[in-house]
């Protein structure tokens, strides 16, 4: 499957990554190469094979329901370009 420059531009936009027009063909080619490789993998017959999610037999780690975190408004906001009255302040976004 080959990716054209329009699709590459759309994917970049969805990921909010700016790609200049002259770089789109190269990006599209890279995507195509990745998909080609995946197509090769798809040729392997994996019928009836459980997908392996971890190389060691691990169980999803769980946590008890208790409040152990939070109350750090200052730290949470410390990297924000703009914060006011305890809120993150961002350019207006209204639907």
């Amino acid at each position: 499957m080959s990716i054209d420059t329009d699709t590459a531009a759309r994917v970049a936009k969805l990921a909010r990554i700016r790609v200049e027009d002259d770089q789109l063909p190269a990006l599209a080619q890279e995507f195509s190469n990745i998909l080609e490789f995946i197509e090769q993998l798809n040729e392997v017959d994996v019928d009836g094979v459980e997908p392996m999610v971890s190389v060691t037999p691990m169980r999803l780690k769980r946590r008890q329901d208790g409040v152990t975190d939070g109350n750090q408004q200052e730290k949470v906001l410390s990297n924000a370009p703009d914060a006011r009255e305890g809120f993150f302040a961002v350019p207006k976004v209204v639907e």
Binding site: R16, V53, V67, G70, R84, E85, F87, A89, K92
Partner: protein
């Protein structure tokens, strides 16, 4: 198991300018899990805290932070599934739903698209006694809530609070089995009732702890039946999704508006665009969110930070064993065991605390039907007048049972019982003692009543003559006797004696 049989309601028919139309509605209800901490972090879920104070670095999506699942939230999703008679998937998995919005710092929502924890279930939506809609549940999955954006605090900026970011939600997805605005509201209301019985969600719609997305389409009569036969959606119209509604009234208004909008387009020869819309309660209309549509390519993929969620059947069985009696079963039991009408049983089982109160009264009074009358008509009526709920009742179940016992044993009349209830409600005390102390006991001693009747007759010869001509006037004498005895005479005995004496 006890069951109350029911018939499905007729679908709502809307007359367009040219044709009749029917509605087809499916819903996605987001119910906030009633947990202390968030789904993947240890920050509090408490409503109304200082902005950005209930935020862990996981919620703020700081680099390197990893999610660790709150087992209690998983348990609540399983409990909810069991309460909706649904299959529980012992293996489920988390996926990322990717989109950018300021109140979603991760840039994706962790959800369960491909392998939800709960599969198909059902909800019986009661419309009126004997009439109910069976709504099939397609799935329930666990996901993170987003934060809150405030747009009206500054002309140029939006303000973001991440306190709600990462709080656990259960998304309950129905099949398109709902056939009218009233049914849609009743469905949400029934879900809310079940969730509150289970204790998995507090159902507080005002705080946004229960919200609904509504999928609405219209079709000509007959099409829906074809869909139900084949489960082929092509028999149905194109649907629009109305997002994020947190009031039963708005849900109904939005569906009404949306149906009429779609019908007008179709009858004018147009076609419906499948899209997401918002309901504006001020204007009473739905609006397209088309501007965002292009961005809605979520590129779901399995979340690499989280292993699949595997749970054990034994754990599920333990949860199942701890389920409370649910509304349908409780209602059926009240009808069967106490001889209540289905309507009264519905009123008493609406809230689990009300049902528990009633059962205590019924058990202590030894008469379920009489207890139901007094709980519903007197106690609920009085509490409602004061804006109180059952937990604030000044009358205990034992006190109300005492009043009911006094009525049942004919010790007091119905009228006196109301006075007694008022005394117990406002002053407290033991009903039996109050009746004794204040001489409220009903006079059933026929000798005493006869004396009172004789006195009235002797004092009113003119009335006696009239009453002999017109037996209906006997009521006047009964009234006089009741008055003379301070309402304590047994009305039945008074009636009989008055009739007998007047006939002499």
């Amino acid at each position: 198991m006890l069951d109350l049989s029911f018939e499905p309601p007729k679908p709502k028919v809307i007359a367009g300018a040219k044709y009749d139309w029917e509605l087809v509605i499916g819903m996605e209800v987001h119910a906030q899990v009633a947990s202390e901490a968030k789904l993947f972090s240890g920050a509090s879920t408490k409503f109304g805290a200082e902005p950005n104070s209930n935020v862990a670095f996981v919620d703020a999506a700081m680099p390197g932070m990893l999610p660790v699942i709150n087992e209690y939230c998983v348990e609540q999703a399983v409990r909810t599934g069991l309460g909706l008679k649904a299959e529980i998937n012992l293996k489920s998995a988390f996926d990322r739903k990717n989109y950018f919005y300021p109140d979603l710092p991760q840039g994706y929502q962790i959800s369960q698209l491909y392998h939800p924890i709960v599969g198909e279930g059902e909800v019986i939506v009661d419309m009126e006694p004997g009439i109910a809609r069976l709504v099939r549940i397609e799935r329930i999955h666990i996901e993170q809530d987003a934060g809150k954006s405030i747009h009206d605090m500054d002309p140029n900026m939006s303000f973001v609070d991440l306190n709600r970011t990462g709080v656990a939600l259960m998304e309950i997805v129905s099949r398109p089995d709902i056939r009218g605005p009233e049914e849609a509201a009743a469905y949400v209301s029934k879900l809310r009732q079940i969730l509150r019985y289970l204790g998995t969600c507090d159902g507080n719609m005002q705080n946004g702890n229960l919200r609904a997305d509504v999928n609405v389409s219209v079709c000509r009569p007959g099409q829906y039946e074809k869909y139900q036969e084949t489960q082929d959606f092509s028999h149905l119209g194109t649907r629009c999704e109305i997002k994020n509604m947190n009031s039963m009234r708005f849900i109904q208004q939005a569906i009404d508006y949306e149906a009429k909008r779609q019908i007008a387009i179709l009858e004018a020869g147009g076609s419906i665009d499948q899209e997401t819309r918002l309901y504006d309660p001020d204007k009473g209309e739905t609006r397209s969110m088309r501007s965002k549509e292009e961005a809605h390519d979520y590129r779901y993929f399995p979340d690499p930070d989280l292993l699949p969620l595997e749970i054990e059947q034994a754990w599920v069985d333990d949860i199942a064993a701890s389920l409370p009696e649910l509304p349908d079963e409780k209602k059926a039991r009240f009808v069967k065991d106490f001889g209540l009408s289905e309507y009264d049983a519905s009123v008493l089982t609406a809230e689990v605390a009300n049902a528990a109160f009633f059962e205590k009264v019924a058990a202590e009074a030894g008469d379920g039907k009489l207890a139901a009358n007094w709980v519903i008509n007197e106690l609920f009526g009085r509490l409602k007048k004061e804006g109180h709920d059952i937990t604030e009742s000044p009358v205990s179940p034992a006190q109300l049972a005492g009043i009911v016992r006094l009525i049942k044993s004919d010790a007091i009349s119905g009228k006196i019982a109301k006075d007694l209830f008022e005394i117990v409600y406002t002053e407290g005390g033991d009903p039996e003692q109050i009746v004794d102390e204040r001489g409220m006991k009903q006079v059933t001693d026929t000798g005493a009543i006869e004396t009172a009747v004789d006195e009235i007759i002797a004092a009113n010869p003119a009335q006696v003559e009239k009453a002999k001509q017109n037996p209906k006037l006997a009521g006047w004498f009964v009234g006089q006797v009741m008055k003379a005895t301070g309402g304590k005479a047994n009305p039945k005995a008074v009636n009989e004696i008055v009739a007998k004496k007047l006939a002499e």
